[in-house]
């Protein structure tokens, strides 16, 4: 069960059980959804964007522990970031979940997702909400699905 406790670290189980910024965001001016058609996971990410800066962010929807905790931790980390900073952060996060290597300073609590790299089938879960958030931030309005190329 070593790999498992690495995957499901305490911080992940905690965010899964008590997701932060969960719910709709009435003042949102950007919204996008993310679907994983193969398992039915689906999230909506709400952003309040002012002058290219993410002032507020929330999400709702349903999914596995990994996708839900990743969405929750993402909302915490995106608060106050510029869109460019968000893109950078995602690049680091993506690097983390695909390789297990982290630059802990930027990722802070999200470093808990290092274990995902041992579970290639779950990488999609960890990045689902991120794809939706970035689509919203970029204003492309596209629907993110795990079927799209990263």
């Amino acid at each position: 069960m070593d790999h498992l406790s690495e995957l499901y670290q305490a911080v992940i189980l905690d965010h899964n059980r008590r997701p932060r910024n969960f719910g709709k965001l009435p003042e949102a001016n950007r919204v996008a959804t993310g679907d994983n058609p193969s398992c039915g996971d689906h999230f909506t990410v709400y952003l309040r964007l002012t002058d290219d800066r993410i002032e507020k962010v929330a999400f709702d929807g349903a999914g596995c522990a990994i996708s839900k905790a990743a969405a929750s931790l993402m909302t915490v980390s995106l608060m106050g970031k510029s869109v460019a900073e968000a893109e950078n952060l995602f690049r680091e996060f993506h690097h983390l979940v695909t390789t297990g290597e982290a630059d802990e300073e930027n990722l802070s609590d999200m470093a808990a997702f290092a274990g995902v790299s041992q579970f290639p089938a779950r990488i999609k879960c960890a990045t689902l909400a991120w794809h939706a958030a970035l689509n919203a931030a970029r204003g492309t309005g596209d629907k993110a699905t795990t079927e799209e190329p990263v």
């Binding site: 069960m1 790999h3 498992l4 995957l7 499901y8 189980l13 193969s38 398992c39 039915g40 996971d41 689906h42 349903a62 999914g63 596995c64 522990a65 990994i66 996708s67 839900k68 579970f119 089938a121 779950r122 879960c125």
Partner: protein
């Protein structure tokens, strides 16, 4: 149970399946994903290997020795499939890539020729996407209306009282699954076909989950079409079977065009052979047919009645154990086939499947290509264990123990 079945319960058949003899994540593999695809006995793997090493040649077109051997092997597989599925004649058997292509063939060829704007097609709420999407595409093209037999609830039974009324609503074709891949429900196929036949309605039975797991006889069922996949019944990928009543096949236009299915080809028009060749354009999966034949022989050697009893007995046993876990929602009925689907209030199927995999257990979590059924049940996904004759009672026990541990891990 037969002597055969008691011997395979003692683990004899397991030795026929090389893949089962391995450790996954440090634990002996427990393969409970049989509804997605079955494993292959050595007899099947070796039949194809032998064919490639001795007899391989394209079929039909040639008259040299290898070509003749390959043609005899391919047509022999067709005859065996006719017997396996209770067709009246080998000419009622068309080899396709799988159940999905078989259903698309009927939708395109029969549906394209005999359905008209406003016609109705009856399906059910428990269909696999492969028996939904072909009809969606056709309905859009021809402006058909699709109706669905509802299920009664979590037990996943078809609401049989609704069937007659729906059939009477101007339905031309009734397509339904024999066994639900998500719930394990065994639908009363013969009874459903009888009701349709009395009304002159054409029937298609999706036998993907039944053909390798219980005796399936198209004539006894009384259906017009029946579809199955080789890979789910111990055969190779790349081959499936469409059974079609001869008189219907003879009246149907071609599906795909190409070599093998023509009588005469001019520059701008062609005429076509009779069934089954009319529906087999291009080089068919002939090596796969050799493997499929070995699979059918293998299964009938064990006996499909015995397999059915074994599978459902394991499912009942697993169900009984799982029922005790707190917060579990069990779907389907204990009278179903060897498939158990369940849901935990607070744990997502993907987390369960990942956890189980770490314990060496291969299961599936998701919508199982039955999204409308999920919607009907108010779920996004379930976790599914599906058994086959090479699974054991000990494996069912390991499943239950592991689910108990998972529940503790995520909620305790």
């Amino acid at each position: 149970m037969s002597a055969a079945s008691s011997s395979w319960q003692r683990g004899v058949v397991r030795a026929d399946f090389p893949i089962l003899d391995q450790a996954v994540n440090g634990h002996p593999l427990v393969y409970l994903d049989n509804a997605a695809t079955s494993q292959k006995p050595r007899a099947v793997i070796e039949a194809m290997q032998r064919f490639y090493e001795r007899d391989n040649s394209n079929v039909h077109r040639g008259i040299h020795t290898l070509s003749h051997r390959a043609t005899v092997a391919y047509e022999g597989a067709r005859e065996r499939a006719a017997e396996f599925l209770g067709a009246a004649d080998a000419s009622e058997i068309i080899f396709t890539r799988g159940t999905t292509e078989a259903i698309n063939l009927v939708a395109n060829s029969w549906g394209g020729a005999f359905l008209r704007e406003g016609d109705r097609v009856l399906l059910t709420e428990m269909e696999h996407h492969s028996n939904l999407v072909p009809w969606h595409l056709l309905a859009e093209r021809l402006k058909l209306e699709l109706l669905h037999v509802p299920i009664t609830g979590d037990d996943g039974l078809l609401d049989l009282e609704r069937v007659d009324g729906l059939l009477d609503a101007g339905v031309k074709l009734f397509a339904f699954t024999h066994v639900s891949n998500t719930l394990g429900t065994v639908n009363p196929a013969a009874e459903l076909c009888r009701r349709a036949r009395e009304r002159g309605i054409i029937t298609l039975v999706d036998a993907a989950q039944s053909a390798g797991h219980q005796p399936v006889n198209a004539r006894e069922i009384g259906c017009d079409f029946l579809a199955a996949s080789g890979h789910k019944l111990c055969g190779p990928t790349g081959i499936g079977i469409l059974y079609g009543r001869r008189d219907l096949l003879d009246a149907m236009p071609p599906f795909l065009g190409g070599g093998e299915m023509i009588l005469k080809v001019g520059l701008s028009a062609s005429t076509f052979k009779k069934a089954p060749q009319r529906f087999e354009a291009g080089t068919p999966p002939f090596a796969e047919a050799v493997g499929l034949r070995a699979a059918m022989d293998y299964l009938d050697d064990i006996g499909r009645e015995a397999i059915f009893e074994h599978d459902r007995e394991l499912a009942r046993h697993a169900r009984a154990g799982l029922a005790d876990l707190p917060g579990i929602r069990l779907l389907g009925t204990p009278d179903g086939a060897g498939i158990v689907s369940f849901h935990f209030d607070e744990i997502h199927a993907h987390d369960i499947v990942t956890f189980a995999d770490q314990a060496g257990i291969a299961m599936r979590g998701g919508h199982h290509c039955t999204q409308p059924l999920m919607t009907r049940l108010g779920l996004d996904s379930t976790t599914r264990a599906s058994f086959y004759f090479y699974n054991t009672r000990e494996e069912a026990d390991r499943l239950v123990e592991t689910m108990a541990r998972i529940h503790k891990f995520f909620t305790g």
